[in-house]
């Protein structure tokens, strides 16, 4: 697989025109993290609606095409889902969402930063603790 496949039309489109980008005026959940590897950063905010549904979700931050597109796609996927759904999201789901690109370990961290922030925020709201299986640089 070549980088031309990684940086497909779709990824570049989400990178340049991120959906759900910005901040919420009112939110119940907010989480932020950076990738110590590179300084990429993502913030996510969620307004929780009826039945613990993700009513509104926005992200902001800066970083590479992969981290930003991944976070943006994830917010689209998450919107309207129950909070519990977030617990079920696995990294394989994120990879699939991105079109299963072949990423080296360091770029995998870029791809998963959004998920990490989402999980950290939601787990915390649910009174749980999200432990990153591969912490650090």
């Amino acid at each position: 697989m070549s980088s031309a496949d990684i940086y497909r039309e779709l990824i570049l489109d989400y990178y340049r025109n991120p959906r759900n980008f910005g901040k919420l005026e009112k939110f119940d959940i907010s989480a932020h993290d950076t990738n110590p590897l590179c300084g990429d950063e993502i913030e996510m905010q969620i307004r929780v609606g009826e039945n613990s549904k993700i009513e509104e979700i926005k992200f902001s931050g800066r970083g590479c095409a992969i981290s930003q597109a991944s976070a943006s796609m994830l917010t689209e996927l998450a919107k309207g889902k129950p909070l519990e759904w977030v617990k079920l999201v696995a990294k394989e789901d994120v990879f699939k969402m991105l079109g299963d690109p072949e990423l080296g370990p360091s770029r995998v961290k870029c791809a998963l930063l959004g998920m990490k922030v989402l999980k950290t925020g939601v787990y915390g709201y649910l009174g749980a603790h999200y432990e990153d299986p591969e912490p650090g640089t």
């Binding site: 950076t34 110590p36 590897l37 590179c38 080296g104 360091s106 990153d132 912490p135 650090g136 640089t137």
Partner: protein, 412 residues
């Protein structure tokens, strides 16, 4: 060369290129393993392979060399972690045992120890498990006391209990003495210390290289050892710490790698264990230590231990025939590791070492960085022969011959 049956020494010796060399025209008889061990070809090759094929800085790299170097470096961390029965993310790479104890002193001690606190070490500690606590005591206005040893060279358990009764903040003790050879009952001592509310810092410099160590059964807070004493390269070692303690600690050195974000007025820290690995780490030698762990594992640490016990028994038997030779430490070989410190008549250890060197025999002479223990033993120096898996009965015979020669020269 006689096999000890535990391992095939002849085959193992072929793995160590240095053992082919001669010293003063004689076969090298290397009996200075407690100071540093020799390295098998596999360890040397791992360094050559790294520098010739995938040398790169780690962690912050997107390119292939960087990904490969990172995978190998973290792979080595995993090997070391499993080798001593630790858990993931509890292994910090350091230069060696000395840096490990100093890291605990700065990152744990400066935060936790307060004026008037009591710190404990033992009289059989190496300077690297004494001086950091002296310096910490001085900086904090705390007191450092020593647990003594019994005449047969064991920890004085009564004094230990008594001093633990004074509610110390810390108990620093060695798993295995580099002079007496004494192997301490770490699980028992650490449990006692924990009951007394003390944090334990255990010096594993002479244990991890010589017998199986399973930290999951030892209940210690911090455990330190050096790669160069376990067939690995110089410049690398490990500090194993309980994750909760590591997370609560201040960082040690500050710089790249250990940070998350740097602002003008403050910084935030990377996750454990990276928080304690500032700057470019010793990548090649960490990988080399991983190769040493693989080599030791392929032999089996139980076999290494068995071999060393046989050498020890043979050495004690052999040296017992030398008149005027006095051996320090416990009687029972099961209670001690594969080293023998001794004095021979009034031949000073340095003079003995010089005479032995002429026969190609390398031993250590001096205070072995254990001056408080030397004072306990009422000597200023001892000679020390220490073994590893490539030593043979022949080496011990050569040692005895050399000592006899010194006896002749000194007209003992």
């Amino acid at each position: 060369m006689l096999k000890t049956e535990a391992v095939d020494v002849e085959r193992i010796r072929r793995d160590f290129p240095i053992l082919k060399r001669t010293v003063h025209g004689k076969r090298l008889v290397y009996l200075d393993n407690a100071a540093t061990t020799q390295k098998p070809q596999a360890v040397i090759d791992s360094l050559v392979d790294y520098y010739s094929r995938y040398n790169s800085n780690v962690h912050r790299s997107v390119h292939t060399l960087g990904e490969e170097a990172t995978a190998a470096y973290e792979g080595a961390r995993g090997k070391v972690t499993r080798f001593v029965g630790a858990r993931a993310n509890e292994t910090v790479f350091v230069r060696g045992t000395t840096e490990a104890t100093n890291l605990v002193r700065f990152a744990w001690g400066e935060k936790q120890v307060k004026k008037g606190d009591l710190l404990l070490a033992t009289r059989m500690e190496h300077h690297s498990n004494i001086v950091p606590w002296q310096l910490l005591a001085k900086s904090k206005g705390a007191t450092l006391k020593f647990v003594g040893i019994t005449p047969d060279g064991n920890l004085d358990m009564e004094e230990l209990d008594r001093l633990l009764g004074e509610s110390p903040k810390l108990l620093a003790f060695t798993h295995c003495s580099n002079v007496l050879g004494t192997i301490n009952d770490v699980a028992n001592v650490s449990r006692k210390a924990h009951k007394a509310g003390a944090t334990t810092v255990v010096d594993g410099a002479q244990s991890v290289p010589h017998f199986p160590v399973d930290l999951s059964a030892l209940d210690v807070d911090f455990y330190a050892f050096s790669g160069h004493k376990m067939l690995g390269p110089t410049g690398i070692g490990a500090l194993i710490g309980r994750k909760a303690l590591l997370e609560d600690m201040d960082p040690y050195e500050g710089g790249g790698e250990m940070i998350r974000e740097v602002f003008d007025d403050h910084s935030t820290w990377n996750d454990v264990p990276y928080k304690f690995e500032a700057g470019t780490v010793n990548i090649a030698d960490a990988i080399g230590l991983g190769a040493a762990v693989d080599y030791l594992t392929s032999i089996g640490m139980d076999k290494v231990r068995e071999h060393e016990i046989r050498l020890l028994d043979y050495a004690r038997e052999t040296l017992s025939k030398v008149k005027g030779l006095h051996v320090y430490g416990p009687e029972d070989s099961k209670e001690r590791s594969g080293l023998i410190a001794f004095n021979y008549a009034d031949v000073h250890p340095h003079d003995l070492a010089t005479i032995l060197d002429e026969e190609g025999i390398a031993i250590r002479s001096g205070h072995h960085c254990a001056q408080p223990l030397m004072r306990c033993l009422n000597v200023s120096a001892t000679s020390r022969a220490s073994f590893h898996v490539y030593n043979s009965y022949d080496d011990i015979d050569a040692l005895k011959q050399g000592i006899m020669k010194a006896g002749a020269i000194f007209k003992v």
